[in-house]
């Protein structure tokens, strides 16, 4: 209850931040070199055609007026119309966001689980083989960019071994999956479509692994050093000194206090996933939010870019809100 009220208050605070972000994005896309109107019109378009298109897109009014109109539209739930496709941006986003959330969500869960288990185990056997391996991953992982990682995975697991499907989308068309949420595994379960579930999971394997590996290195470092400092604390030594079973010591006196110190840092690390998703989606033709935004950026599709930045900002703020709530839940000392 206390947590819910806190979350509500935090959500309200979100509004002014989003207004600020929207003003900034609005101005930034307009100072970017490149004219969106030219990208939609044919080479042969006349000055009159350009002026007409400019008016159609609402780009002829003074900037402050343009912004206020945009703000009013957003407040009523209208995110605008894509210059390129002529579709409602809100609808286009709705069709793609599920796929991206699915991608990032699985990557987060897997990275967090793996980092926790390996990080704690490495701390328990400090200087052991696993510990050395974890530290190697920690260093190497930070040095390899995600597109290189993704390419290596594609070459090995699709190209050489043929274990993974081609990087050409989220699910086999032949499975006849009906999109509902856009997250293929959920849609497959909702529709009771077992072949589609298998195909979706197979398609998820490589991009999720790529993204998970991107955040695994910093996460692993964080968990390991957190666990090491817990193990040096009197509280941990006391539990060992009182002869508690190994299971209890590890679960209650090591893993739990370690995790209680991590949420904010974890949120910070997970923030990288949003940027990483843009590249990974493009690499795997994911047809998600990231790929959509990249195309929008190239063609200077203002409504698309503005919407993507807004969604990203909301995602970031939600991520930190969740981190704070989890922190308060894990650590009784944190008052919110």
């Amino acid at each position: 209850m206390r947590l819910a009220r806190y979350a509500g208050r935090r959500l309200l605070l979100l509004l002014p931040v989003l207004v600020g972000v929207s003003i900034l994005t609005f101005l930034l896309v307009r100072v970017l070199p490149g004219d969106p109107v030219r990208t939609v019109l044919p080479q042969s378009a006349t000055e009159a055609d350009v002026a007409a298109a400019r008016e159609r897109f609402g780009l002829d009014a003074p900037l402050p007026v343009q912004y206020l109109i945009y703000l009013r539209n957003v407040a009523t739930g209208d995110l605008g119309t894509s210059f390129q496709s002529g579709q409602d941006v809100g609808v286009e986003m709705g069709e793609r966001i599920g796929a991206t959330i699915e991608l990032i969500g699985y990557a987060m869960i897997i990275a967090l689980l793996v980092a926790t288990v390996i990080g704690v185990a490495a701390a328990l056997r400090r200087g052991g083989l696993l510990d050395k391996g974890a530290r190697l991953v920690g260093i190497a992982g930070n040095a390899i960019p995600e597109f290189v990682l993704g390419l290596i995975l594609i070459i090995v697991f699709y190209g050489s071994l043929s274990w993974a499907p081609a990087p050409d989308g989220r699910v086999d068309g032949s499975t006849g999956l009906v999109p509902i949420t856009g997250a293929s595994t959920f849609d497959a379960v909702l529709g009771g479509n077992l072949p589609a579930l298998g195909s979706a999971l197979a398609h998820l394997a490589l991009p999720v692994t790529t993204l998970a590996l991107v955040v695994l290195a910093p996460l692993l470092n964080t968990v390991r050093s957190g666990a090491v400092s817990v193990m040096d604390s009197d509280a941990y030594i006391c539990a060992v000194a009182h002869g508690l079973p190994r299971r209890t010591v590890i679960k209650r006196y090591l893993a739990r206090p370690t995790l209680a110190g991590l949420p904010t840092l974890t949120a910070l690390i997970f923030g990288n996933l949003i940027g990483g998703a843009v590249l990974v989606e493009t690499m795997f033709s994911w047809q998600g939010l990231g790929q959509w935004a990249l195309k929008g950026l190239v063609t200077r599709d203002y409504p698309v870019i503005q919407t993507f930045v807004l969604v990203t900002a909301v995602a970031y703020l939600l991520l930190f809100l969740i981190a704070d709530v989890v922190q308060a839940w894990l650590d009784p000392r944190v008052k919110i």
Binding site: V240, T248, P257
Partner: protein, 322 residues
């Protein structure tokens, strides 16, 4: 056979500024049902001695000698044998209870963890016993406090919980590391009485660590005095208090302010930080009655009376004459 026999225990800790000889050739026995007070100035190695009894020296420490518990050497114990010794054999009350409690676990659950581990009871049954234990160490409203987190407790309350945690292990030897530091006089007296009862009524051995020799003497059967990692005197509590035989013990006692307004005589100088076991008397630089030979040879701990030992050749000679 004693419950605990420490034989020539030396502990060296490798540090960033060189080695520290935390303990040098310590010999100490503890019998069931007795309270042994271990006193000395800060840094003398009291905590290291207690930690070696539960086999939990810092990673950088190396130990030689023997810590025999019921005949088994703790320093050689491993795995399950060591885990069974910890808690059920010897349980330690840590010096800073607020730091030694798990900050993210209710104190009641921490108690239950111990009861389940050593009593073999189910969690549900252990809960009632945990509340009872909290009451036993003097916590009011134990039922409510069971659900408290460590950060919601005062220092005194945390100290009581720490003692309850150690008692919950049902130890044959209780190691209490400065359990009265920072407590008010009434509370300190209450805690000391509790340790005395645990020894007399439940037959536990108690090692009571303190820097306040006068404060704990009344509940102790024997007193051991540690100086720079060496045991300098060990004898019946009343005797050590009334007729201390080592100049360091005398100094400690003289430094105690009296009730009648005497501020006490602080000892001059400080305890040395030894890099290796001392070759001469470590107290010689501060000793009022030092002789030339004290700087040449480390005095052995010798019997100077019935069950009374001191490591000072000067006193030993006086004793022989007198």
């Amino acid at each position: 056979m004693s419950l605990l026999s420490i034989r020539d225990l030396s502990v060296t800790i490798a540090g960033s500024t060189g080695d520290v000889a935390a303990l040098s050739g310590v010999r100490l026995d503890i019998e069931p049902g007795t309270v042994v007070g271990l006193v000395g100035e800060s840094g003398g190695g009291k905590s290291m001695l207690a930690r070696s009894v539960v086999g939990l020296l810092p990673h950088t420490a190396s130990a030689t000698g023997q810590v025999l518990f019921e005949g088994d050497d703790v320093l050689a114990m491993t795995g399950d044998r060591l885990r069974r010794h910890r808690g059920a054999g010897a349980a330690m009350c840590f010096q800073q209870p607020l730091l030694a409690l798990n900050p993210v676990r209710r104190v009641g659950d921490q108690l239950v963890d111990r009861l389940v581990a050593h009593g073999g009871a189910a969690r549900r049954a252990a809960r009632a016993r945990a509340v009872e234990l909290l009451g036993q160490v003097g916590i009011r409203e134990p039922e409510r406090r069971f659900r408290a987190y460590p950060h919601e407790m005062s220092g005194g309350m945390a100290q009581r919980v720490m003692i309850a945690l150690a008692l919950a292990c049902g130890p044959r030897l209780l190691l209490a590391d400065e359990p009265t530091t920072g407590l008010d006089v009434t509370l300190a007296g209450e805690m000391l009485a509790l340790f005395r009862r645990e020894a007399t009524e439940n037959g536990r051995a108690v090692l009571l660590i303190s820097h306040d020799i006068a404060g704990i003497a009344a509940v102790c059967d024997r007193l051991a005095v540690l100086y720079a990692g060496t045991l300098v005197e060990h004898g019946p509590a009343a005797e050590v208090l009334d007729a201390p035989r080592h100049p360091y013990t005398r100094g400690l006692l003289a430094a105690v302010p009296s009730l009648h307004g005497d501020p006490g005589q602080p000892m001059r100088g400080g305890q040395p930080m030894l890099g290796a076991a001392p070759q001469s008397c470590p107290f010689e630089p501060r000793c009022p009655s030092g002789e030339a030979e004290c700087g040449r040879r480390r005095p052995a701990l010798v019997e100077i009376g019935p069950a009374h030992l001191a490591a000072c050749p000067v006193t030993a000679r006086e004793e022989a004459r007198g």
